[in-house]
Amino acid sequence: MSIAAKRALFAIAFVASLGVSNSTHAQEKTVKIYGFGAKSGVVGIFGQQSEAAMQAAAAIINKSGGVTLGDGSKARLVIDYLDDRCTAEEGINALRRIASQNDAFVAIGPTCSNVAEPVFGILQKKTGDASDSGIQFPLYTDVAAKGGLASISQWAFRNVPSEANMYKAIFEWIKATKPELKTFWGGVEKDFAHSNATFGVIKAQAGSNGLQVLGQSEWLLNDTNFSTQVREMRRANADVVAISAHPFTTCGVLKEMARQNVRPKLLVGLTSSSSMETLQGCAAQAEGLIIPTSFAPVTDQAKQAAVAVQAINPKYNMDLHNAAAFENVFTLKELIEKNKIMARPDSIQADRVKMRDALAAMKETQGLLGKVGRTDDREAIKPYLFVQAKSGNWVVAHTPKQ
């Protein structure tokens, strides 16, 4: 092929690919809820499971007739999930792409906290501020959990657990039920936004609940050697050890602790690590690890939801992250119906504003473990309980009073 012909072919392919959209041209009426998050890469499981949960919720809704739109007609709920690969640039691109669709009026996501912060940053900060050229599109986050992000913009809403509350509760419980534990040592994964920020909370709560903070060990997300850190831990010989890290380094540290015979009386973990990943990597060493979480299959709805996700694809489970996505779809369905959202191309701008105002006006939502409260800065007050790793499974250790 000549160079010119090759170039022409390439140009055509490129333009064609840019124009390919994901919308379906179905005969029946559809209403779309978009989602975006990390579907590939090391943390790809979060986005994949969120999408599965959203599709499970949509399937249940569609089975019972679909969503009633503003003009009384029934529409089938469709989920469209974009991959942002946990990078800020692609997250921004994904949001821009969603916002430019004429059938998009709300999106669930992102999954990574380091994407959420820039994505919320490009939204309009205060509604009605005409001098602010930020994007005007409501987001209802399911997974990105770094503290305080929703306050960045009035278009950002989150349904993530408040780690400040959960760790306060767990350390109060430890103080009440195990008063013989006196000292605390922390371990933190320093270069991941979520684990680093949460560790501050963990340390503070441990200290204000009577534990003497002896110190902390630090490591990085892709470290391969934890012997120095665990040796410090061993020297300190604290009663309670808290590890604020994700499954890979949590397992690395736990295995090193087993090697060096470091056996604290109590192990506390990071909320995100209360998933199958940790048990897949190091079930034996994680035995007894207690983690506060906002999901466990303890209520009927929770169990049904877990089954529904597995029906979408057996390799996916339900955990605290995609449970929020599941809840969000149902919440949004209610809001669409209550606020008579039309979901038509000519009403789409108004729909976005309606949706944002509706999300802001919510006082509480229905969660899988009970009612979820809302705060003034657009965060959630989720019911939580404590789970413990026992023989390769997460079992409920305690359900505190909320």
Binding site: V20, K39, R85, G121, I122, K125, N196
Partner: protein
């Protein structure tokens, strides 16, 4: 429409990054440090506008100049090392910069609480563009006028003596030295100019994303930076732009419909492009620019192979 404008902004920022790498690659130095200069420009420009309310122009210029200064400082020791060692040394340098910002904390009181880099938690609140009501169109105009400015500058340099010096050193250092070319001046100037362009790109990126953290400036970014000129072909500036459009527009955004397979295909397609067009997508330059770049030839790295004389056989591994 807003999406395409947004994509154009990303392509513009990456084009600047690619052009900065083109500069340095042209003299035969493979430098993975462009990510580090990008980071310096990003943090500095971001800090100046969000913490000290500087106007954007001055902030971007300061970012670019500082990155240039650091690049020149790096350029001198880099003279002593070549090839793979330079690759590793520049990687190490970029990592040092990233780790510096990983530890860097400086927060001042802003209108709504503390603002400033917060170490490993990142640096948010760089909301100059949305807060001042810049539309997507205006932002694009800014970015692409900067790209055009840089391209004109580089094309002019390429036509002039400087460009000839750079290309000569890129092809054969020893011969260039024998011809009386000042190796130090050429290499350091290439490094410096490349650093300035990368710093400029970084400054714009910080304002585009409104939140930056150390993770944005890792080895992957540096690899992308040199990938653009290599994929596009070192012979012409337009090659770099085409490569950026190819990677950002086609591979990353255009292939979204492939879902999970997009990421897998990304690496595979890069390999395919390199096998099919080892000298880059654009071997010769496009149209009018071709006359400007007429003297530019593909650098041929025939270091160990004895010239094969009359036959033009190509050696395979």
């Amino acid at each position: 429409m807003d999406f395409y404008l947004g994509l154009a902004q990303v392509i513009g920022i990456h084009s600047l990054l690619g052009l900065s790498a083109w500069c340095v690659l042209h003299t035969g130095q493979v430098s993975l440090a462009q990510g580090g200069f990008f980071a310096i420009g990003a943090y500095l420009a971001g800090m100046l506008t969000s913490m000290f309310q500087w106007p954007l122009g001055y902030a971007l210029a300061t970012g670019a100049v500082s990155a240039c200064a650091v690049a020149i400082a790096i350029g001198f020791p880099a003279l002593r090392i070549k090839g793979l060692m330079l690759v590793v040394a520049t990687t190490a340098f970029a990592e040092i910069i990233r780790l510096f910002f990983f530890n860097f904390k400086w927060r001042v009181a802003g209108p709504e609480g503390l603002v400033g880099p917060d170490g490993s938690l990142g640096f948010g609140g760089i909301r100059y563009f949305p807060a001042n009501g810049w539309s997507s169109f205006e932002l694009n105009a800014l970015i692409w006028s900067l790209v055009a400015m840089v391209m004109v500058l580089l094309a002019w340099l390429d036509r002039s003596r400087v460009g000839t010096m750079w290309r000569a050193i890129g092809e054969d250092e020893l011969a260039a030295q024998c011809a009386g070319i000042n190796l130090t001046a050429a290499k350091v100037s290439a490094f410096g100019i490349g650093g300035a362009i990368a710093g400029l790109a970084g400054g714009i990126f910080a304002h585009y994303a409104t939140h930056i953290e150390h993770g944005n400036f890792g080895i992957l970014l540096a690899t992308f930076a040199i990938a653009y000129p290599i994929l596009g072909g070192l012979a012409s500036l337009w090659g770099t732009i085409i490569a950026v459009i190819f990677v950002q527009g086609f591979l990353l955004e255009g292939l979204r419909f492939l879902g999970e397979w997009r990421s897998l295909l990304f690496g595979v397609l890069i390999i395919v492009v390199m096998i099919i067009r080892p000298s880059g997508l654009l071997k010769a330059s496009l149209g009018m620019r071709g006359r400007l770049n007429k003297a530019a030839r593909e650098p041929e790295y025939r270091r160990d192979q004895a010239k094969s004389g009359t036959t033009d056989e190509v050696h395979h591994a």
